[in-house]
Amino acid sequence: MLSVKDLLCERDERVLFQNLSFSVVAGEIWQVEGSNGSGKTSLLRILCGLNDEFDGRIEWYGQDIRKARQDFNQSLFYLGHTPAINKTLTPKENLSWFCASRGLQKQAEIKGALNSFNLYGYDDMPCYQLSAGQQRRVSLARMKLSDAPLWIVDEPFTALDKQGVNELEIFFAEHAAHGGAVILTTHHRLEIGHAVKRINLDKLAGLAG
């Protein structure tokens, strides 16, 4: 699906990573590891096409992601550090706009998606009244609605309780088993029951030459 060749990212004359090559195929889960500041978030944002400051090639089925933008966006689900939900809107309204913005006709499934993330009864409450963990769950409920094969998620386990973490791990494994792919960052040890490939950014750092 996604192949990365000789990726180099530099921030303020410091090379975060270089000679990074890997390719993600359907059914794989990739975990990006590294200490704080090693460039995990930068890598994920580069892979999504949100950040253009890199050298190297990123291809989506053989096409540069910058050229195959629409095709790539259609197949990509990205979740960053920020929950991307508006706090004055209710979870239902947030998800409803998400569906529209992805071109999904799934208004009827929103309630089910919220319920499966333990948000039963909260769908008509403004998000600012929800706890941080619940807001995270609203944000994660989008994965249930998304039909994108490639998921790129940054620290998805933040603010979740133990049960939530387990459920999410199972959810990732299911997605991979159904032919999807997941790229995620976390400091937490994944116990997924599915093979996890790892990229360690600490080994790829270097000095700007």
Partner: protein, 221 residues
């Protein structure tokens, strides 16, 4: 296009749930206009001559001040990144955002303008030209302001920078807008100037969303 309807719905819901964002620029408009008679004296004849200028300049500042609510919240909660990664046509999403923002910020100003204009003793024959000018002009102001806002949304304190960027670009709209009123007062036809404003609006609708998209991409990266 469901995405346009969905975006307008979302933006209007957000606006009505946080009414301060709508009311504050409007209050600014009312208060700033009211300050002029207090400052220059209640000489009706003098006021009526500068009335259209006062209304236009304050409307322009009010629109600029209302810009902050356009992308700020979306930038901070990450919705902007999601928007940029949407496979739907971004041009129309941005246009829908701008349209709904104008509905809650520009349109109330246009509606309120006649009341304030009559307070400043603007002659009644100039009222319609003022309104027509504002109706075509405020959307242009919203679009130009949005380009500036998209560029500065990533900066923590962007207020003054936005003014420096955007106000010079507001000059043509201001010149043609107030020109409409003085032409009408001089007994001349105003359709030419309104057509020019209309042409500027069409150009803004065509180009501003593209500039905004490019600016937003820079701001989030």
């Amino acid at each position: 296009m469901t995405i346009i309807a969905a975006t307008v719905r979302r933006e209007l819901l957000i606006a009505f749930r946080s009414p301060g964002d709508i009311i504050n620029p409007l209050m600014f408009f009312i208060i700033a206009v009211t300050l002029f008679p207090l400052g220059v004296g209640a000489d009706t004849e003098f006021l009526s001559r500068i009335a259209s200028g006062i209304i236009w300049v304050t409307a322009l500042l009010a629109v600029m001040l209302s810009m902050d609510s356009l992308f700020r919240a979306d930038y901070e909660d990450g919705s902007l990144e999601q928007l940029l990664l949407s496979p739907q046509p971004l041009y129309f999403i941005i246009l829908a955002k701008l349209g709904s923002h104008w509905l809650v910020s520009g349109l109330p100003i246009v509606i309120l303008a006649p009341v304030l204009a009559s307070m400043l003793a603007l002659p009644s024959e100039a009222m319609l030209p003022l309104l027509a000018g504002l109706l075509i002009g405020t959307p242009i102001l919203t679009m130009i302001g949005a380009v500036g806002m998209a560029l500065t949304v990533g900066l923590s304190r962007s207020g003054l920078l936005l003014a420096v960027l955007v106000l010079p670009l507001y000059v043509p709209v201001l010149v043609f807008g107030t020109g409409t009123v003085s032409m009408a007062l001089g007994g001349l036809g105003i359709s030419g100037l309104l057509a020019l404003l209309g042409a500027m609006l069409v150009m803004a609708i065509c180009l501003a969303p593209l500039a905004i998209l490019a600016a937003l991409r820079i701001s989030v990266s």
